[in-house]
Symmetry: C2
DNA sequence: ACATGTTTTCGATTATAAGGCGAAAACCTA
DNA sequence: TAGGTTTTCGCCTTATAATCGAAAACATGT
């Protein structure tokens, strides 16, 4: 519409990321503990306020560099805008939430006020950050099923059972190793490296090592159910 | 992080909606033609600036009431934040983009500067609005395949071939009526009304009328591929 | 060396969902 | 009543996922 309204109101705008990683067998999120009011001692998502010359994705990447080496962020995607008027008491500040993924073999150096918390056992969180974490978790779980986003959780090489552990931890239920392997293989996302892992001290057949194919290293569109005719693969 | 940065910058924040409808056999979007600079005579998405006391979804619904009767909006969902620093020349204004869907039997009264344009043959658009329209179209197409969002495009009752036309127009390719019916029926989204449509003047067997089930009238999660074990339906 | 236990791998089978095709059904008009 | 048109439905094929169990390949202990 033509701007017949009153003078436009400006808003502060924050960017926040739920950075997820599978570690110690569970899906965890990077949080830092507030030392100042409001919500002192509660746990917050990393992020900060948008600057004048950057877009939101550039901003969250810049701000995460203070917490995690950005090289270790295998995937970043926008979740949505959180805009409840009372989401930050006393101020009006919008926030764009992001999902970030770190491969499970990385252990980035993090500040002392920062820790990885299981998403299924969060400590007391600040503002609406719990909601953002849950949105991120739900998005990850949905996409694990119908895209190849799993590559962003996995190390460069892995055994099928290690990959099964990753998927199981992220999804919250056990998946079958056999089935996982074939589903990913059929989509052309998995290839053997030729090498094999050494068996554990308890013995057992040595597991073959796999990696994601080049084609599997970027998030693809969800596969369609109602395809164009004659498009069977 | 603690706010060691400078004074936070405020931003203007707009909400914009790509309202889509299948009409005259093609997927169309509601646009209005600007009468003022900048981008005079180019076509814009409906929307406006966020107000101090509302959230973004409330804001877009309020602002759309000026263009379309909100009763006719069967579905509204957030797309993402558009934040390129130069997206509006001369000002810094963020925008939250939305997808809106109007059932094909509705013909809402719209202002005289407003018209429905085919998304595949857009006129000259203002700012980054073309990108938002394409994002909306892509989101709709993806969700048509793996959710039941189709209900928001359809009238309360419809024949299978009418539904096929809707899906075909929205997806951009012909889908099989037989298959569409069975895919939706298997998911429990379709039920016969018992009535039948009158055949056209060219004859033919009268088509049975269907409607979406109550369960089919809200957007469900995408169906999972890697399900928990023992969850076969 | 050999038996035993453990873990991985892989083939065989079943289950489920989607795509394609054509015959039969149910209407129109002439 | 005959011919044309559209819808409906069953049957078949293909594609993909889930399950199961046997065989392979290793470690350890005797």
């Amino acid at each position: 519409m033509s701007d017949t309204t009153t003078e436009p109101t400006p808003f502060r705008h924050a960017v926040l990321a739920a950075v997820l990683q599978v570690r110690a067998g569970s899906l965890r999120v990077l949080l830092w503990q507030r030392a100042q009011e409001p919500h002192r001692h509660r746990w917050s998502l990393p992020g900060g306020e948008l600057c004048a010359t950057e877009d939101v994705e550039g901003s969250i990447r810049r701000q995460l560099m203070e917490k995690v080496d950005v090289q270790q962020l295998a995937h970043v995607e926008q979740l949505s805008v959180f805009s409840a008027p009372d989401r930050v008491p006393g101020h009006r500040v919008l926030a764009t939430g992001f999902l970030g993924l770190v491969p499970s073999d990385n252990d980035p150096a993090i500040p002392s006020d920062t820790a990885w918390h299981p998403v299924d056992a969060l400590p007391a969180t600040a503002f609406d950050h719990q909601r953002i974490v849950f949105d991120a978790r739900d998005r990850l779980r949905a996409k694990l099923s119908y895209t190849n986003i799993g590559f962003a959780l996995a190390p460069p090489q892995f055994t099928i059972s290690a990959l099964r552990e990753l998927y199981s931890a992220a999804l919250g239920y056990r998946v079958s190793a056999t089935n996982l392997q074939r589903v990913l293989a059929r989509r052309g996302l998995l290839e053997p490296t030729g090498e094999a892992a050494r068996p554990g001290r308890t013995g057992g057949r040595p597991a073959a090592l796999f990696r994601f194919t080049e084609h599997g290293m970027q998030v693809t569109d969800p596969f369609a159910v109602l395809r164009p005719p004659g498009t069977r693969s």
